[in-house]
């Protein structure tokens, strides 16, 4: 008989946790406000931190009441997700890694469990263990939600920066009538070199350029992939009726290319952009002469 009575008294454990959180809302929020996760984000006033804590407790209570303590997609979390993203953003701006943020969130658990233990001091040990396990699971789920928020924030940042990189990757410069140049800077991957190739070929049409100079002074390393992209660009430019010159190959890179056994035989190469420009001008029929032979009177 006492067992049955106990079962009735307990009701659904999840709902009981929800009730507990609801009842102790104020106390929990006050304690959380002193934890690093809240204190370091809401630096202006403590009241603000307590307020954020209350919202979070409410969300957890709702999740517990709905019985989906292991589900990070539970309806209750969606209300606080935005707030968590904001808090994570503040933490990562302060230079914290996601795992450090996760540790901060883990620190929110002990105060709540302490309160639960204090409340169930006189209850049977099995019941206490069951409840505190459930609460731990719930806090673990919260940790997953926070991690997700932190990672999505980081991903958004990476996407933004990738876009910026693409935008500034490929300025095509007109050096002379019929000569265009692209100074390549940074590591070339296939997405970037595709953009480079497209913009260069577009400008060949636009400027009616006979020569296109690919300057790789700013490219730190050349591997077989980069070399392949260069060859492709050169071949495509040739098909359109323009000649491609690759310039800015530093001695170290030349060494690497030879060691890799890459054949750039069909590509015109020059040591510097100036040399490439001189080559193109000469091919166009212009000659660069020092001012002395030009006649002093003209200048």
């Amino acid at each position: 008989m006492p067992e049955q009575e106990a079962a009735e008294q307990h009701g659904v454990p999840e709902r009981e946790i929800g009730d507990f959180l609801h009842r102790r809302r104020e106390q929990i929020a006050q304690r959380w406000a002193d934890e690093t996760f809240f204190r370091s984000v809401f630096t202006v006033s403590r009241e603000e931190a307590v307020d954020a804590g209350r919202t979070l407790v409410d969300a957890l209570a709702q999740v517990a009441a709905s019985g989906r303590v292991t589900d990070p997609e539970a309806a209750g979390f969606s209300q606080v997700r935005e707030q968590l993203v904001r808090m994570c953003a503040a933490r990562s701006r302060a230079g914290l890694t996601p795992s450090e943020v996760s540790r901060d969130v883990a620190a929110l658990r002990p105060p709540v469990v302490d309160l639960l233990v204090a409340e169930l001091r006189d209850a049977p040990e099995q019941r206490l263990r069951e409840r505190s396990n459930l609460l731990t699971v719930l806090m673990g789920t919260l940790r997953v939600v926070v991690m997700e928020a932190a990672l999505s924030e980081n991903q958004a940042l990476i996407d933004r920066q990738r876009m910026q990189l693409m935008e500034m990757a490929t300025p095509v410069i007109k050096l002379w009538d019929g000569i265009v140049a692209v100074p390549l800077i940074g590591t070339l991957d296939s997405a970037r070199s595709q953009v480079v190739m497209e913009t260069l070929l577009e400008s060949v049409v636009e400027q009616q350029a006979h020569f296109a100079i690919l300057d790789i002074t700013g490219v730190p390393t050349v591997d077989s992939l980069v070399a392949q992209h260069l060859m492709k660009t050169v071949a495509a430019a040739r098909l359109m009726g323009a000649e491609c010159v690759v310039s800015g190959i530093r001695p170290a890179i030349a060494q690497t290319i030879v060691h890799l056994g890459l054949d750039l035989g069909s590509v015109v190469t020059r040591a510097s952009l100036a040399d490439a420009l001189a080559y193109a001008l000469r091919k166009l029929g212009a000659d660069i002469v020092p001012p002395s032979s030009h006649g002093a009177g003209e200048r």
């Binding site: 002379w176 009538d177 019929g178 190739m197 497209e198 070929l201 577009e202 060949v204 049409v205 009616q208 350029a209 006979h210 492709k232 071949a235 495509a236 430019a237 040739r238 098909l239 359109m240 009726g241 323009a242 000649e243 069909s266 091919k283 166009l284 029929g285 212009a286």
Partner: protein
């Protein structure tokens, strides 16, 4: 009934004679039969007019496949045997990229930015040199 005007199927590509250069303008799709007919026409025209060059204007071609690449290479090889030089002119960037991706870099084939330039190139020594001289009056 037709006499000097042979009947041509749809998609026929005309071969125009400009002095001692032949001009061929490709537009849109080139079907197998049309391509074969074109190769034959070009061969006959070179032999008949003793042309020095063939200019193939591909500025109207927006989609390319390996077939077109092979046709261009074959025309060039055939013209070469008849002592005429083939120049492909006005290839679009997207087409050039596709050709390279397909591995059709057409080595040994001459190219030019526009048909005008390609035709002009046969009047002198080198298309690039000639056009450049006329252009370089001002920087």
């Amino acid at each position: 009934m037709t006499g000097g005007f042979p009947q041509h199927a749809a998609g026929h590509v005309p071969v125009l004679r400009l002095g001692d250069v032949l001009l061929v303008t490709l537009q849109g799709d080139l079907h197998d039969s049309a391509a074969e007919q074109l190769q034959q026409d070009i061969g006959e025209a070179i032999a008949a007019h003793r042309s020095r060059g063939v200019v193939i204007d591909v500025s109207g071609v927006e989609i390319v496949d390996s077939f077109l690449g092979r046709v261009l290479a074959e025309i060039a090889a055939k013209a070469e045997l008849l002592a005429a030089q083939t120049v492909v002119a006005g290839m679009r960037p997207a087409v050039a990229i596709t050709m390279v991706e397909l591995g059709l870099t057409l080595p040994g084939l001459r190219t030019a930015l526009t048909a005008e330039e390609a035709v002009r190139g046969f009047g002198g020594t080198d298309p690039v040199l000639r056009t450049a001289r006329t252009r370089l009056g001002s920087p």
